[in-house]
Symmetry: C2
């Protein structure tokens, strides 16, 4: 269901023909009427044409539709690429009878190649005809690239005034990034939320979810997260009311679930690694320390080999912008202590056993305060190298 | 010859027994008398005991000897590790009859494990006995870890006042890092240079050589570069004299040669990649842009696969702290243009051919100024993952 779980939305996913595989490649999400909307986008300075278009489209806090394609990122495509993105929005706007600037566009695939516009425009017509109240699953499938599985998540919030539903879809398996993961995400809700508040909720939710996924440290040119609120539940949600924190928590839960699905499907990975920093001076330093460890290629290799090489954790910590005394740091792998007070501790054989599961938690206590943060990453494998060695040609 | 090419130095490399392989593991470099000295060290905040010791030893601008071991990094070893490093310096000082604080120590190997001190001290005695005017090669061999070949370089400068020799050795194949590469380096010269000027020359030389090697973005806890000047040539070198720029250039050439040898021996690499940024606003921005591209795991995989995926160059540039307009950037691979004005250019088949050699130069013109910088890295391979997946246990 995902993006059509909430009332007031229809979606479709079709095969336009953009991929050699002839798998579904074009998705459309449409609100029944004007929806309040918010978006967060890649912080890469090289931004794809659809990112620039969607940022402008969502600036007024209102969207009617989002059109997404896999099979081509429409990034580094110059003025022609910008025209193509505008033509996609225009085609959707014409078909739905809405303003072109109420249509957002998101693209994913190879950078630097123009989209075959006749194919895209025919796909849009096909998608408009296929729009359905149950189209969320088809849409989630159509945005996949190297993803092995589609990613969907739904939360239902039972408020006194009625039930609010939040549903989302995501794609992305490579380029999980320091600022935003891979990543195209559309989340919809039938809550009645003003656009400014929607923006606040989305920023809070993504800061602790997608922003804390770091697959390979590479930041995409196309990352896009859009949130649309139809108001169809007639349940009003706003800061200062009792429902607000529950709404933000529900939205965060959906984003966290999608983020976890992204990590679990990361290219070539054999393990999911949660780098959990505790005892940090503040949350920013906790994130910095966790991210530094999560980005260490040497550590990611060691975890792949189930080698309890905690020295690589300390070496990575030493490059982070975080306060700590090296001789006070504790490290454990899945609960097995390997370093206490900055020096070797515990039984490395036990630590090796602790590294056998697919899910690894590296817990680091900086003993510098009370703040905590967790960054998710994966191990570094020969399969990652293989998948990323032959792609564009 | 390396560290014994310059007059006034002896060296030795012996097998103390620190490595299971029973390969040489302990090196000693000794000046005939007190030598002017300078050092640069890792900027990692987690610093090995020998780094802390050597930083203090060189602070007064004078060294007599450097003792180096492979087979153990003596990092994250607490107060005991600091005592071990001090005992190494003490043993050398006693044997040579010099002050303990005129002895520097450098260690490389696994983090977090104490050195077997009886073995180390017996090795030091053995090395003192083996000191030789031709011992440079043996010393260079004894500092190897996963290095496949030893690294040595010599420059001879023919000044009016006489010949000055500069010779160096280096080790390091993994953890090539953003701040300093792997890396233990000792360079000696028989020039007569005041310590303060030696420090100035060393910082200038390393800033453009070792500091611009970035293998996997991981910064070591043990990186050490030491420069000793014996004065035995009786050729005085100082800033403001005609010989100064030639001396700095010669020292830079030795460091550059050693840095290149480090990259060529990087763990698991099949290609050397020079990321050359031109047209940058200033040199700092040129380095930042080149380093960002050199650290992109996705790009390094693409080069490994000889895939001219220039979109990954632009995606990496977009995260760098450097001024440029995305739609003005040009990129070429070994001279074959792949991106002009931010969009696709040239023939990707030709670019694929251009990526076939072992040595790859990626040239990026930012069109934002006149500064330039080159950062050296390698491709990312399954062999890198393999080498780093099983190491400590």
């Amino acid at each position: 269901m995902s993006v059509t779980a909430a009332a007031g939305f229809r979606a479709a996913g079709v095969t336009a023909g953009l991929k050699e595989s002839r798998r579904p490649d074009l998705a459309l999400v449409v609100a029944d009427g004007p929806a309040a909307a918010a978006g967060v986008f890649t912080r890469n300075r090289v931004q794809a044409a659809p990112v620039r278009l969607s940022r402008a489209a969502v600036a007024d806090g209102c969207l009617r539709a989002v059109v997404l394609n896999s099979g081509g990122a429409n990034a580094c495509t110059g003025a022609g690429g910008a025209q193509d993105a505008a033509a996609m929005a225009g085609a959707v706007g014409s078909a739905l009878g809405c303003a072109v600037d109420d249509v957002a566009v998101a693209s994913t695939g190879l950078i630097g190649v123009r989209l075959p516009m006749p194919t895209v425009l025919a796909g849009i017509a096909q998608a408009v005809a296929a729009l359905d109240r149950d189209g969320g699953g088809a849409a989630a499938t159509a945005i996949m690239t190297t993803d092995r599985v589609s990613k969907e998540s739904v939360a239902r919030l039972d408020f006194a005034a009625g039930v609010v539903t939040i549903g989302g879809m995501a794609k992305g398996a490579g380029m999980l990034a320091p600022a935003l993961a891979t990543m195209l995400v559309v989340v919809t809700t039938d809550a009645d939320v003003a656009a400014a508040h929607l923006d606040e909720a989305l920023r809070a939710a993504t800061a602790r979810t997608f922003d804390r996924v770091d697959g390979d440290g590479c930041m995409s040119t196309n990352d896009t997260v859009l949130l649309l609120a139809s108001g169809a539940s007639e349940v009003s949600v706003a800061p200062g009311t009792p429902t607000w924190s529950d709404f933000v928590a529900g939205l965060t839960a959906v984003c966290a679930d999608l983020a976890l699905q992204l990590v679990d499907d990361a290219e070539g990975a054999s393990k999911r690694i949660a780098v959990e920093v505790v005892g940090a001076y503040d949350e920013g330093q906790a994130v910095a320390a966790a991210r530094s460890v999560a980005r260490s290629a040497l550590l990611k290799c060691a975890v792949h080999g189930e080698d309890p090489n905690w020295g690589r954790v300390l070496a990575a910590l030493g490059t982070a912008d975080a306060d700590f005394e090296p001789d006070r740091v504790d490290v454990s792998f899945n609960g097995a202590p390997v370093c206490v007070g900055g020096v070797a501790a515990g039984d490395l054989a036990a630590a090796r056993v602790a590294l056998a599961p697919r899910e690894i938690t590296i817990t680091i206590d900086l003993h510098a305060g009370t703040s905590t943060a967790t960054v998710l990453t994966t191990d570094l494998t020969a399969a990652y190298v293989h998948e990323n060695s032959a792609y564009s040609t």
